[in-house]
């Protein structure tokens, strides 16, 4: 039974909307700062794009750098018809695709083993993790020397060939990809193993069961692998020197460093096109990309 309330001093009023003032204010501040962050984060790529549309005349004229007065696609046309650039692109593409294939083969196989609980599986996981932590800058010098050594002793020319990168880059990709996939495979219930065994599957057949379930992890690992191979700069710079052997990042930069006159329009176009493949993959497969990123540390 409700009792009438003494209502001296109550102001009746109706409140509408389901976000309180306090929360609305926090939301506005959040958007404000996020817009600032986005401006800072996106300025360089946007500027790359702006510059790529400028003719060299406009660039040297030193007018407002942030605006294109006479947009032109000549930079793109020049680059894409220029043999050197296309070679860079091709080299990068082939190297990356090969590295992805090799890495996935090695990693998938290796990632399976902890599931079978053999004697070294815990050490393996830790070892893989440690291997990932060793940076390429620590290792490239002895590798360079080793390759030179092999050249001296056996006459096998390993330096200055783009396909050498296919041997080298897996160092960077295999540990982390294995790590990602150990995490993903661990979340597949062991019952699948047993069910498959009962159904008479020998392990090679298991890929009909496991691979589909593990697909997100595999995709994430592949994306990571491709991105790292494509973006690699150090190994390319150290191990390849002739123009026709360079991969894209090295190619663009060394073309710059050699010349005295910087053709900025072309350089920015080249850089933008070079950044395009990872960006495109990212645009379409963003969730896998991020999953690959977070897999390393959070699946600890």
């Amino acid at each position: 039974m409700t009792t009438a309330i003494a209502d001296a001093g109550h102001t009746p009023g109706v409140r509408y909307g389901s976000i309180s003032q306090g929360r609305r204010r926090t939301l506005y501040w959040s958007y404000f700062f996020l817009i600032l962050f986005v401006i800072v984060f996106l300025t360089p790529p946007v500027y790359m794009f702006i510059t790529s549309l400028k003719s060299s005349a406009e660039i040297s004229a030193a007018s407002n750098p942030w605006w294109v007065y006479n947009p032109t696609l000549s930079n793109y046309a020049d680059l894409l018809t220029q043999k050197t650039y296309l070679i860079f692109f091709r080299n990068s593409a082939v190297v990356s695709l090969c590295v992805v294939t090799i890495t996935m083969l090695i990693s998938v196989l290796a990632a399976f083993s902890p599931r079978m609980k053999f004697w070294g599986s815990a050490t393996l996981a830790t070892g893989v993790f440690l291997a990932y932590l060793i940076p390429d800058t620590l290792v490239f010098i002895p590798l360079f020397k080793t390759f030179a050594f092999i050249h001296d002793k056996r006459g096998i020319e390993l330096i200055n060939h783009w396909w050498v990168l296919i041997i080298l880059l897996p160092t960077l990709t295999v540990p982390f990809c294995t790590w990602i996939m150990i995490g993903y495979f661990a979340s597949i219930p062991k019952e699948l193993d047993e069910a498959a065994l009962i159904d008479g599957a020998v392990y090679p057949d298991a890929d009909k069961i496991f691979i589909p379930v593990a697909l997100p992890g595999i995709i994430a690992a592949m994306i990571f692998c491709f991105t790292v191979s494509w973006a690699n700069f150090l190994y390319g710079l150290a191990f390849t020197t002739s123009a026709d052997q360079l991969t894209l990042p090295v190619g663009i930069v060394t073309t710059l460093i050699r010349g005295d006159v910087y053709a900025w329009g072309q350089i920015m176009t080249g850089a933008l096109l070079g950044a395009a493949p990872p960006l495109i993959i990212y645009a379409f497969l963003m969730d896998y990309y991020i999953a690959g990123l977070t897999a390393g540390a959070t699946k600890g």
Binding site: S30, M48, A62, T137, K145, A271, L293
Partner: protein, 309 residues
């Protein structure tokens, strides 16, 4: 009798085949073979070179004689070496601190947004990390260009004096750290966002009822509960930033006057450009102790996280 013997024979061959099959089928054997390629890759391309570099570092320039610690002694006496040490440490620590701060702050802002909108913002904010660092460093190089810097143009419009981004040693260091922070912050953003989401919302509600303001919630609840991830991410990044090559090489190549050299670029210049491989190897070896320490700390943190889970 013959048929018995024959049968025994077939039985024993069959038996031997079975044991062989059993051996091959045994899980641990298969597992080991599956790991083999990985072990080979890591052994040949990571472990072996790491150790080889130690022996390399002890050779003389033409790699004919063993000079023991001669290279190391040489380095320790050089002024540039100590500059490189100071610079590398400065870059790594400063960059990681700022990356962590920006990532932390940005993660909270993104987390504040309604769930549907978060994806778009997260997508835009990750772009600096997606672009190959070499490419984006080129863009920054262009932005910092002594004659055509777009930033200087804006400064000129506003009446602020021009900045010699890459010519002045202090500004050059600033530029290197800036680009590093620009490239790396999104990684921290993503990691911290994931960690933030794992803090139960009810704890925030309980804290609000206990009287906590927004920054008290962050200080007393978010920070402690995220501390594990914060440490792991920071240590990870410390290793990567410490060993960073691309940014410094493209932006300043160590200049002006070696004021922005880090271990990686200095080692590269000695070994590849200067043709003194042992000296280059010695330089890069100096990275090892710090990296090892960070690695041990990470492992300890990861294990701790595993135990808490």
């Amino acid at each position: 009798m013959a048929d018995v013997v024959a049968r025994d024979l077939t039985l024993s061959t069959a038996h031997r085949r079975l044991t062989m099959q059993k051996f091959v089928r045994r899980k641990s054997t298969i597992a080991f073979f599956m790991c083999l390629p990985l072990i080979l890759v890591v052994a040949c391309l990571v472990v072996y070179p790491a150790f080889y570099s130690i022996s390399l570092a002890m050779m003389n320039k033409s790699m004919q004689h063993f000079v023991g610690f001669g290279n190391f002694a040489f380095l320790l006496k050089r002024n540039t070496f100590w500059m490189v040490v100071e610079q590398t440490v400065l870059f790594a620590v400063t960059a990681v601190i700022f990356k962590a701060l920006i990532g932390f702050i940005a993660a909270h802002f993104v987390h504040n947004l309604p769930a549907k909108g978060q994806r778009k913002w997260r997508g835009m904010l990750l772009i600096p990390w997606v672009i190959p660092p070499a490419m984006s460093t080129l863009a920054w190089f262009w932005l910092f260009d002594p004659s055509y810097s777009a930033f200087n143009w804006v400064f000129a419009q506003l009446g602020i004096p021009q900045v010699a981004w890459l010519g002045n040693p202090y500004w050059a260091r600033f530029a290197v750290i800036l680009v590093n922070v620009w490239v790396g912050s999104p990684f921290f953003l993503i990691m911290y966002l994931a960690a933030l989401k794992s803090v139960p919302e009810q704890l925030h509600e309980a804290a609000m009822i206990d009287g906590a303001s927004w920054w008290q919630k962050i200080w007393y609840i978010n920070l402690p509960m995220m501390s594990n991830i914060i440490q792991i991410t920071a240590l990870f990044s410390l290793i990567v930033t410490f060993a960073n090559f691309d940014i410094v090489k493209i932006l300043t190549n160590g200049g002006p006057v070696d004021q922005t050299h880090v271990f990686a670029t200095w080692a590269f210049n000695w070994a590849i450009s200067g043709n003194d491989i042992p000296l280059g190897a010695s330089v890069s070896l100096f990275m090892a102790p710090i990296l090892a320490l960070a690695a041990v700390l990470i492992l300890r943190n990861v294990r701790q996280r595993g135990n808490e889970a």
